[in-house]
Symmetry: D2
């Protein structure tokens, strides 16, 4: 039985607590938060769980094997490092840290101590995204593009731009679904409220191949859109997260190329590009709550010395892109190289 | 009665001919095309119209006051200049020319000779776009962003990229709907077929104000999307051209800002950004065929010495952006300044 | 402070308990259920609430002023009568009873004792339905038809047909939204599982005026539909409950009738029927949880001796239609008169 | 080469003429209409086709082997009988005739003379409906229900009700797609304009099996809907004719029944009804114009002595249902038996 503490009981913490309370192999021991009223809410709902506003108390307790951190991003590094140094496995909310340097140090600390470091890239544990990865791996062919729109009239954040708030989802999904990693990023955007971070942004991601990726995030849209298009040489996918059941649609559509264009010069192309349209299908999806699956995997990794799907390296790769995108945003879309090799090695 | 000749009877020419045959004040005298079978098609349908493969014959005829040019883009400049020099008013397909230099010379030639030069920016004559401009001018407040997606599984062009084929529509609509003109552009994209122009592209348009514009065009998408979002300080608009009747939806949504954030520092913002959600309405739209309206205006301008809504300057502004976007596309999204002042002056 | 007990903690009971726990002026004293494990669930969640499997204990307690009954339909009559006879106000789930005779006796008992009898017609307390009634009363003109489709792949009930399970919603909405009451009903349907009640049904409702109403309910549909069309002489409404925010759309569409058709005979009609198409608007809706509003009103009625919007008479009218529809269903759609006068008087 | 004449050049006639002009094996010889201006329209468009207002002239011409009749329904019988008696094959618009008696006499006359009698049930020749029939025959299992909605703000007809105008489409599709024929029909509806036929109607169709069919037609709806649901024991279909490409969706959804409910009594059912949800797919559809396919088949049948898919018997079955539905409509939905055996034999 893995003893677990949840640190931070704000927006997401209650979901962690609710799922941990039902995770086989885990025992929820503590919830820690600085706000008395949040602790009171925990107590009335889960009288058996200890509540405290002192994270040191949690980390001192030898029955606690792991902590789940759901505090503001700016505190992730400090709390996670403290926990790792106390020998605790860590499950941390996304984005994993405020800077890639922080993220890298977290990865190194966990590796040095042989502890599990998992990042809560929730979406990659949904039935929809898992199915999308399966289709990409088995049927899409060469991936031509990845295009995502994630917009709505959303709560303005005051400390981070819309990129850190919304694009982080797309970046973590891309990191899981695509085999290739981006080598450079650029971003444009705008803040429409004086003194606030950017509320609309567009990211371009460049790869070594002909793959191109693009993400549109916006807190100020009149309609809610959650739609990703993936184009491949064999199949194309539409992932619409707002569809109640047919979230993933796979289209047998594309172009066909025949002959040897090099030999015959430019004119000949016109005859060689054909269009293919076949059936569409929407595979049945596993509707199990993603967070439950994810926490179960975290516990399994601790017990069996495994590596979570979204480990510290995945978290670091995402933070590195967020960081570079933020840098580009301040410079009207200048391309920022990602020095990917260092990050993954 | 204005005598008109149509030059080019390929994809769009038949629409020009059909509409000119019903345009009050215009008399369709000639259709000119190099292909015998196209001329035969004209003859069987419109036996009273003269057919010819010799553009000089058309331009020599003093009964011809105006020509409508619907040939490939690369020939627009040569044919339009020839017509203007022969004293004919010109209605030319979009994009107006292959380069801004050509477009500028066309504008100058028409101005020098006092001839009408109209560019066929068809969309701006639709009921939907005219209504959108009306709403932008009267109710949207400060325009924050203009975001357009125009994607489908479309015919690959072999001479021009998807920007010249599809983004030209969005640029002509923006030119008409927004009061501000862009001052710089950047574009990223990719060709997924060796030897072919880019089939997917993303454009960013920069303005002197906080307005930001973005266009996504794609010939290789599994679904057809034609959707524009306009966000303003007072209202927001969704323009979905695939909706059968409710193409324009106006949302009384947005954020409200209260207090004096400067005085109180960053912390105070959180309380000051509010969200506003009110009614949505979809105004009734005039469904008259845009091309008919447009050709009628062209004839009116000739008769009354007027200036068409989409005149040579509008066509030039659009071509200048296409040209700069193409330049940026080749350089991973480098920002290209538009030297707007020279263009408009 | 009104002391309340909830009887029945199955599917709907938890919603009653959660809302009552937050209803101003109400104090939740008891939850009563025959199943130990359900009572345990209450206790762990609401330790301050008394749990019991003995309804008599509840009814004996003088602190209990009112009971909310969320048990199977077949038990409503017995439990409600017991509660009324014990002097308790009653809030009962829909449908109110198994027969109109039972419903009528409940109404009479409550009236005799001066107790509040409310029926949980939840939908009529939603922002969408309240807005729909407002539009019908102020702008629709003569109501021509009311057409509702409520289908999905739903849980088969084993004791009642799809009419009692799904059409009850539409009947309660109609009862609230339309000023006229139906005078006759017919229904057709089918059971596709041997020994089970009808899983698909179509109801026709007849009125004294030209109003016609129709309801399609189906437990065996591949897609979920919740859509009501209301056609009127001045406006038309589409109510789509699956739309996340624009649930009510009001169309300024219809026909216009001019001249004097009587005088000129049949031929003249062709010129006199015109079509009108104007703007559509989707009013902003109050998104407050319906059940909370409803329970607050129940408490208010107890305190101020008022009558709930969905009182026993409303519940009785709905049950009478369900009963007649069931009778018609067994006889291939024979029309059953509703003897409305006796019911309402 | 089959010589063909078109009689009636109103709303649908131009489609017949345009398709016949391109039908291999057919030669369009005449267009006949009583209105001079309609004939002038034919002449300017098709100068080689003879025009006349005298149907006798057409029928006398031995080069004319077949006529296509696109006149008002009330004239179908007279014109078709005249043509059959003159030895011409007949292609007649739907509905085939005003009464089943007329239709029966047309069928008998064609049979007696060995002439082809085809009814223009256009929809059954679309790729969507042909695919739907294929799916019904190969994968749907037992058909449980057929439910169709065909509503919009449509042109009021003055001689026939909405049933004859719109439900005729659904009846002809059902006749083609389902193997079973209905044995009885009932209909309710209403006219909301004094002196006009019913503008809204609901039809129930009864079968010898557990199949149930229902059609909702309405000229006075704020939105356009063209949607058919087919539920079967193995698969379910949604046919949405307004979808641009995915008109047919096949759902692997339904219920599963296990065990022996008879043996165990009612209680056991609850455990035995299970729900099945699998993939959905939207098969690619042939987008060829239906009328062209249909006219080609008509010509083939003449040449090869074949029987068209929609022959006179199909037309008669549909008219018989329309007639019975009209009778039921006048009597608040009284069930009318269809005496199907006589019709088909």
């Amino acid at each position: 039985m893995i003893g677990v503490a949840v640190i931070g009981y704000g927006y997401w913490g209650p979901n962690l607590v609710r799922n941990l309370a039902e995770t086989q192999g885990a025992q929820l021991l503590y919830v820690c938060d600085l706000r008395k009223e949040r602790l009171a809410a925990v107590h009335s709902r889960y009288p058996a769980v200890q509540i405290t506003d002192d994270v040191e108390e949690v980390l001192r307790d030898p029955r606690v094997h792991a902590v789940a951190i759901a505090t503001p991003v700016s505190t992730h590094f400090r709390l996670a490092m403290k926990a790792l140094m106390a020998g605790k496995h860590v499950f941390v909310e996304k984005p994993m840290a405020s800077t890639s340097d922080e993220a890298r140090r977290m990865v190194e600390e966990a590796a040095r101590r042989g502890l599990v470091l998992a990042v809560d890239h929730t979406f990659i544990h949904t039935g929809a995204v898992r199915k999308m990865r399966e289709v990409v791996e088995t049927g899409v062919g060469d991936v031509y593009y990845y295009d995502s729109v994630r917009v709505n009239l959303g709560l303005f954040q005051h400390d981070v731009s819309v990129i850190w708030d919304l694009a982080v989802h797309d970046l973590s999904i891309m990191d899981y679904v695509l085999r290739e990693k981006p080598v450079a990023v650029s971003a444009t955007g705008m803040s429409h409220v004086a003194g606030e971070p950017e509320n609309i942004a567009y990211l371009n991601l460049f790869f070594d191949s002909k793959l191109i990726a693009h993400i549109h995030v916006n807190w100020l849209a009149p309609v809610k859109v959650r739609r990703t298009l993936i184009g491949g040489s064999s199949k194309m996918i539409v992932y619409d997260d707002l569809e109640p059941s047919e979230k993933i649609k796979v289209y047998d559509k594309g172009i066909t190329l025949n002959g040897n264009p090099q030999k015959n010069g430019e004119k000949i192309h016109q005859m060689l590009v054909g269009y293919r349209t076949g059936d569409m299908y929407a595979p049945q999806l596993d509707m199990t709550e993603a967070l439950g699956i994810e926490l179960r995997q975290f516990v399994d990794c601790i017990e069996q010395n495994g590596t979570p799907i979204a480990d510290g390296h995945a978290g670091l790769r995402v933070v590195r892109i967020l960081e570079a995108a933020t840098q580009s945003l301040a410079d009207r879309g200048r391309v920022i190289e990602l020095e990917q090799q260092r990050l993954i090695a």
